[in-house]
């Protein structure tokens, strides 16, 4: 993958690459910290069909969504043999009671037997997080467990 970095004097830096389907996709990182998602038009790869300003939270949420998809698929593939085991992702909402709290406080494994196998944060993976791992808003938790356990986990993360 060849990510092209171009300086935009007075604005910031643009980082983008060409996809297999012939679209240019990337971000403009503004100097004041703002991020803009850019997607080229299909009939003219030089121009942008969309340039969407994202807040910091939104940018890391999007990064997590894109990054976690592969992990979830891999895990699903691995657990295919075991019936009843499902992989699911949960995002930590800004109003979650466990926001900025250590994960152990939610006691998810004790209460639901669900394992949190990874936390996705700002596009990076924190594999097998311990109970001390602090949960932040826009984090994405990758969880493995039974259908009922996962439903309970969702409730816990949302309502405590």
């Amino acid at each position: 993958m060849n990510v092209e970095e171009t300086e935009l004097p007075g604005f910031g830096v643009r980082k983008d690459f060409m996809t297999k389907s012939g679209r240019r996709i990337g971000v403009v990182a503004h100097r004041d910290g703002e991020t803009e998602l850019i997607i080229s038009a299909w009939d003219d790869p030089d121009t942008c069909q969309a340039s969407i300003p994202l807040t910091g939270d939104e940018a890391s949420a999007l990064g997590n969504l894109l990054g976690s998809q592969r992990i979830v698929m891999q895990l699903t593939e691995e657990h295919k043999e075991v019936p009843g085991i499902v992989t699911r992702q949960f995002s930590i909402l800004p109003d979650s009671p466990y926001r900025d709290q250590p994960m152990g406080k939610a006691a998810i494994r004790t209460r639901t037997s669900v394992s949190i196998v990874a936390i996705m944060r700002e596009g990076e993976v924190l594999p097998s997080p311990g109970p001390d791992a602090i949960l932040h808003a826009a984090d994405l938790l990758v969880a493995v467990g039974t259908q009922e356990g996962l439903d309970a986990t969702a409730m816990i993360l949302r309502n405590g």
């Binding site: 300086e7 004097p9 007075g10 983008d16 790869p45 030089d46």
Partner: protein, 398 residues
């Protein structure tokens, strides 16, 4: 009435009117600069109302406006960006300078305004308005476009060229001969090099001098230093504006970001007064006789900027629609053309006709530029459609 009271009333009325004009400009999404100029023309010598009291204040405030315009321009760039910009686009920059300086200089010579007039008018037609261009690019969501870095580096080159051009102009307008002219050029080149190197290596130290957590202290520091540097530069005959520009470049990092945010409202106020001041000093009746030349210059230099952008984007490997966008984006002229004309007018070394021509020209280009940038895209599409009737379907993803 007490003269102070009268001046305050006049000044208040003018600034209030400017606010109205700025809102109008925002409503129809155009640059407010031409409206400010028009306002100045209406209220100045020979205009509808002659505002005497304001003029003295407007003169000094206008000077500060120019200093702030250039200071904030310098703050936008880091020294590193200037270097990469120069390396990436110096060929395009030279083509830009030659193609767009010559029409203005040529018309000045044709009208018998001599070498000084040619130098002024060449500068007026050469420099694009980085303010208008940057705004058009963000407004039209073209920041992610492939041609945008090309446009921006041409602007960087022009701004650096100003740092050499303005001292020369100041010297020539002051009436120094060839030798004196060469001397100022040598001085300013040396100063620019030193400032750029210092900014690159020790930018954080300069930033540290002005930086403060207290925004009041910060504001006073930056403003005081800017005026000091501008004054010293002026005493050395190197043009006030360039001093401020170089100071802006030397300040970097978060200090630069905070400084821009603090100074922006001040710049908007004083720059608006500057544009009005230029208009105030021009007799509106002197515009109609030069309007024909202004239209001709507008046409020719719209085409030359178009060619510059087209060529530069082509060199960067951008396809035809992008080349057209790059060319059209560069057409706008604005604040710096007015700065050059204003400098010339206040020196008294040029005819009033030249100021009238420069103003009429900027009025046209500040309006045409953004419109051209906006409508070039549908125009190119309409032109290209008949040639390729088969409309491809978008590639399916996945």
């Amino acid at each position: 009435m007490d003269p102070i009271a009268l001046t305050l009333i006049e000044l208040g009325a003018v600034i209030f009117a400017l606010g109205f004009l700025a809102r109008l400009a925002g409503r129809i999404s155009m640059s407010p600069i031409p409206l400010y100029l028009l306002g100045g023309l209406l209220f100045g010598a020979g205009g509808v109302v002659d505002l005497h009291g304001v003029r003295e204040f407007a003169h000094l405030a206008g000077e500060i406006g120019v200093i702030l315009l250039l200071l904030l321009l310098g703050l936008e760039y880091t020294a590193k960006e200037l270097f990469t910009g120069l390396r990436r686009s110096w060929q395009a920059g030279v083509v830009d300078a030659v193609l767009n300086f010559l029409p203005g200089a040529g018309v000045a010579l044709l009208l018998g305004w001599g070498g000084v007039g040619a130098l002024v008018m060449g500068g007026v037609t050469y420099i694009s308005s980085s303010g208008i261009v940057a705004k058009v690019i963000t407004d039209l969501g073209r920041l992610g476009n492939r041609e945008t870095p090309t446009i921006l580096s041409i602007l960087v080159f022009e701004d650096l060229a100003m740092a050499i051009y303005l001292p020369i102009l100041t010297a020539v307008l002051a009436g120094v001969g060839w030798l004196g002219g060469l001397q100022t050029v040598a001085i300013s080149l040396a100063v620019i090099t030193i400032v750029l190197v210092v900014a690159l290596r020790h930018g954080h130290r300069v930033s540290k001098v002005v930086h403060s957590e207290n925004s009041e202290v910060f504001l006073l520091n930056v403003m005081g230093l800017a005026l000091l540097v501008a004054g010293l530069a002026s005493a050395m005959q190197v043009s006030t504006a360039v001093g401020a520009f170089l100071l802006g470049i030397a300040i970097s990092g978060t200090t630069a970001d905070v400084a821009s945010r603090l100074l922006e409202p001040l710049r908007d106020l004083f720059a608006a007064i500057f544009f009005v001041a230029v208009g105030l000093n021009t007799d509106p009746l002197s515009i109609p006789p030069v309007l024909g030349w202004a239209v001709l210059l507008a046409l020719v230099t719209a085409i030359t900027k178009m060619a510059t952008g087209w060529w530069a984007a082509w060199r960067a490997g951008v396809a035809i629609p992008g080349r057209a966008r790059a060319g059209a984006s560069l057409i706008a002229r604005g604040e710096f053309s007015v700065v050059i004309a204003g400098l010339a007018v206040t020196s008294g070394a040029i005819t009033g006709e030249l100021a009238a021509l420069a103003e009429a020209y900027v009025l046209l280009m500040a309006v045409i530029g953004p419109l051209a940038a906006r409508f070039i895209e549908p125009a190119v599409k309409a032109l290209r459609r008949p040639r390729k009737p088969k409309r491809e379907t978008p590639a399916t993803v996945g």
